[in-house]
C-alpha cells in the first residue's frame, strides 16, 4: 500500500491551448486533485501514465500550474516522446503521480516582485499569482516564440500588470534581452524580488543581469530527471561552491547567485 504521496489519479481532460503551427503543441492536462494538504508555486510533480509500457520508463516532471481544490492543472509543451504521448491521454485515463516535489518561489507580499517568464516558463506563475496575498505588487514580463494565445497570458494579465514580447526574428532577441536588463536593473534598484522560469538560456540571461545589478533573483531550473526524489542524481546542477546538487530536491528554484548555469 503506497502512502498518499504517490497516487494513481484520473485524467479529467486534455485541452490544446492556442493556435500554433503544430496543433496541440501546448496543452493543459487537468488531473483529479490528489489528497494533498496543499502545494506551493514553483513545486512540481512527476507523472507517468499507467498505460505506458516499458519502452518509456521515467515519469515526466512538470511544474504545478494551478488547482481549484477539485483538479490540478499542468501546462505542457509537446517536446518529445513522453509529452507527445501525454498529450494523447483521454478523460478517464489514469496516471501515477507523486508530489508536490521540490522547493518553491519566495513570497514577499509587500515587495515589488517581477515575474520573468520565458515561454512555457509561465506555467508556475499562474499558481503564484493565484496564491499571492497582494497581487497588486506583482508584474509579469513574458518573452515567447509561439502565438500569445498558446499561453495562459491573458488569464494572468487580468490579475497583474503585464508586458510581453515575441521573438520572431533575430533582432527581437536583442530587444528582449535589453528589456530584461532594464527591468532587472529597475527591480534591483528598489530591492525588489525577481522570479524567473523558462529555458536555460533565458535563465542564464536572468542570472547574468541579476549578478550585474546585485538583484535578488530566483531562477527555476528544469533538468532531465528520473526519480524526482533526490535518489538518481541525474538532474544535478552545480551550486555556488561547485558541488553537484539535485535540482529535484534542492531546487527547482535557486537564488541566481547560488547556482552555476
Amino acid at each position: 500500500m503506497s502512502l498518499r504521496n504517490c497516487r494513481t489519479v484520473k485524467v479529467l481532460d486534455v485541452s490544446p491551448v492556442g493556435q500554433s503551427k503544430s496543433p496541440g503543441e501546448l496543452f493543459e492536462l487537468r488531473l483529479q486533485y490528489p489528497d494533498w494538504d496543499g502545494w506551493k508555486p514553483g513545486q512540481f510533480v512527476m507523472i507517468r501514465p499507467t498505460g505506458w509500457e516499458l519502452d518509456l520508463l521515467w515519469a515526466r516532471p512538470f511544474s504545478i500550474c494551478s488547482s481549484d481544490g477539485e483538479s490540478l492543472t499542468l501546462f505542457i509543451q509537446n517536446m518529445g516522446r513522453g509529452t507527445s504521448r501525454i498529450g494523447k491521454l483521454k478523460s478517464g485515463d489514469t496516471v501515477t503521480m507523486w508530489g508536490p516535489l521540490g522547493n518553491s518561489f519566495a513570497v514577499e507580499p509587500e515587495t515589488p516582485t517581477l515575474l520573468l517568464a520565458g515561454g512555457i516558463g509561465i506555467a508556475p506563475f499562474r499558481g503564484y499569482v493565484e496564491q499571492h496575498p497582494q497581487p497588486e505588487n506583482l508584474k509579469l514580463f513574458m518573452a515567447h516564440r509561439l502565438p500569445l494565445d498558446c499561453y495562459p497570458y491573458a488569464l494572468l494579465s487580468k490579475s497583474v500588470s503585464s508586458h510581453c514580447m515575441i521573438e520572431e526574428k533575430p533582432e527581437d532577441l536583442d530587444r528582449i534581452i535589453d528589456t530584461m536588463r532594464d527591468r532587472i536593473r529597475e527591480y534591483a534598484a528598489q530591492d525588489g524580488l525577481i522570479l524567473s522560469c523558462g529555458p536555460t538560456p533565458f535563465m542564464r540571461t536572468v542570472q547574468r543581469f541579476a549578478l550585474e545589478f546585485k538583484a535578488r533573483a530566483q531562477v527555476s531550473l528544469e533538468n532531465r530527471m528520473a526519480c524526482g526524489v533526490g535518489a538518481c542524481l541525474g538532474c544535478v546542477t552545480k551550486d555556488g561552491e561547485g558541488h553537484h546538487v539535485q535540482v529535484c530536491t534542492r531546487g527547482p528554484v535557486f537564488w541566481a547567485d547560488k547556482v552555476e548555469l
Binding site: 503506497s2 504517490c6 532531465r224 526519480c227 526524489v229 535518489a231 542524481l233 544535478v236 553537484h244
Partner: protein, 305 residues
C-alpha cells in the same frame, strides 16, 4: 507464505532489496512506503572521500532502459555513518553499504571504517562500475583483481557479510564469480550495468557527457538472467539477482534460476513505491503459480533433457 531469506548470516524478511544508486540512502523513499517492509536497502555507492561524480548530462532514457554515468557521486563514508545511517531503521531492515574505491588497499580501508558499524548488515563491493576512470570496471573484468579486492575487504570487514557485485561486461561471468568466491566473498550480486552509448543525430553529440555509460532497466533483463544462471552454476555461494526487474514475474524468474534474493534498481524510477509493492506482488504471484514456499521454488528450473 514465508518470504524470509537467510544466507551467509544475512537475514532478510523477504527477497526484495533495492539496488545501489537507485534508492539514495533510503530516506528519500520514506514518504512513499514503509522502509521496514523491504528485505534490504543497498545504499548509494560510498567512497572514503566525497566524490562529485561526472559532468552533466549524465542520464538519458533509451528504449526499455536508461543510461547513466553518475560516476559514484557521494558525500563520503563519514557522512553516511554520521548523517544517513542514524535515520535508517536498520534494526528492522538490513542496510547494506555499497563500497567503491580505486585499489584493493583503499577498498580494505573503507571496509575497515564500516566494520564496526552496528547498523550495517553487509558490505557490497562494487568492482563493476563502468562510469569511473579509476578502478571500477577495470577490477570487474580482471578475475585476479576481483579476488584481490575481495580478499582485502574480507580482511577488514570484521564479521560483516561481504557481497561482491559483478559486471556483465566480461567474456565469462563464471570465471569472475569463481574469483570472488575464491577471494572469500560470502555472496555475489549481479549484474551491474551493461556498457552502452546513445547519440543525438541533430546535435551530433553523445547524449551523455561521459560518452560511454551504463545501461539498466528491462532492456537488460535477459542478459542479467543468463549471468545469474551461469553464476549460480559456477559457485557454491549465494547469488543475488539484479537487472531489469520491473514486475513480480521478473523477480521470480531470477529466483527460479537460483537467486537467493533480488535487487530492484531502475524500476524504482517507474514509481517510488515500486519496491514496496513488489513485496506483496511476489507473495501473491507465488501463490497463484502454486508454489508452496519461496525456498521450494528457488532454483527449481527444469532444463530440457
Amino acid at each position: 507464505m514465508d518470504m524470509h531469506v537467510s544466507f551467509g548470516g544475512l537475514d532478510l524478511k523477504n527477497p526484495v532489496m533495492t539496488a545501489s544508486g537507485t534508492f539514495g540512502f533510503g530516506m528519500e523513499f520514506a514518504p512513499y512506503g514503509d522502509l521496514t517492509k523491504l528485505g534490504g536497502i543497498v545504499a548509494k555507492g560510498l567512497s572514503l572521500k566525497p566524490r562529485e561524480g561526472n559532468p552533466m548530462p549524465r542520464i538519458t532514457e533509451t528504449p526499455c532502459g536508461m543510461l547513466n554515468a553518475i560516476g559514484i557521486q557521494n558525500p563520503g563514508v563519514e557522512y553516511f555513518i554520521t548523517k544517513a545511517l542514524p535515520y535508517l531503521p536498520w534494526k528492522k531492515v538490513a542496510v547494506i553499504a555499497n563500497l567503491y574505491a580505486c585499489d584493493a588497499a583503499e577498498f580494505g580501508e573503507l571496509a575497515g571504517v564500516l566494520a564496526g558499524e552496528e547498523g550495517v548488515a553487509a558490505l557490497e563491493v562494487n568492482v563493476s562500475c563502468p562510469n569511473v576512470k579509476e578502478g571500477g570496471i577495470a577490477f570487474g573484468q580482471d578475475p585476479a583483481q576481483i579476488a584481490k579486492v575481495t580478499e582485502a575487504v574480507k580482511k577488514w570487514a570484521g564479521n560483516k557479510h561481504v557481497m561482491v557485485k559483478l559486471s556483465p561486461n566480461v567474456t565469462d561471468i563464471g570465471v569472475c564469480a569463481r574469483a570472488a568466491a575464491e577471494g572469500g566473498a560470502d555472496s555475489l550480486s549481479l549484474i551491474n550495468t551493461l556498457s552502452g552509448m546513445a547519440v543525438d543525430i541533430r546535435k551530433r553529440k553523445p547524449c551523455i557527457a561521459n560518452v560511454i555509460a551504463g545501461l539498466s532497466g528491462p532492456a537488460i533483463k535477459p542478459v542479467a538472467l543468463r549471468c545469474v544462471y551461469q553464476a549460480v552454476k559456477a559457485v557454491d555461494i549465494p547469488v543475488v539477482g539484479i537487472g531489469g526487474i520491473a514486475s513480480a514475474e521478473d523477480a521470480l524468474e531470477f529466483i527460479l534460476v537460483g537467486a537467493q534474493a533480488v535487487q530492484v534498481g531502475t524500476a524504482n524510477f517507474l514509481r517510488p513505491d515500486f519496491a514496496f509493492n513488489l513485496v506483496d506482488e511476489i507473495e501473491t504471484l507465488l501463490g497463484e503459480i502454486g508454489a508452496t514456499s519461496l525456498d521450494d521454488f528457488r532454483g527449481s528450473l527444469q532444463l530440457p533433457l
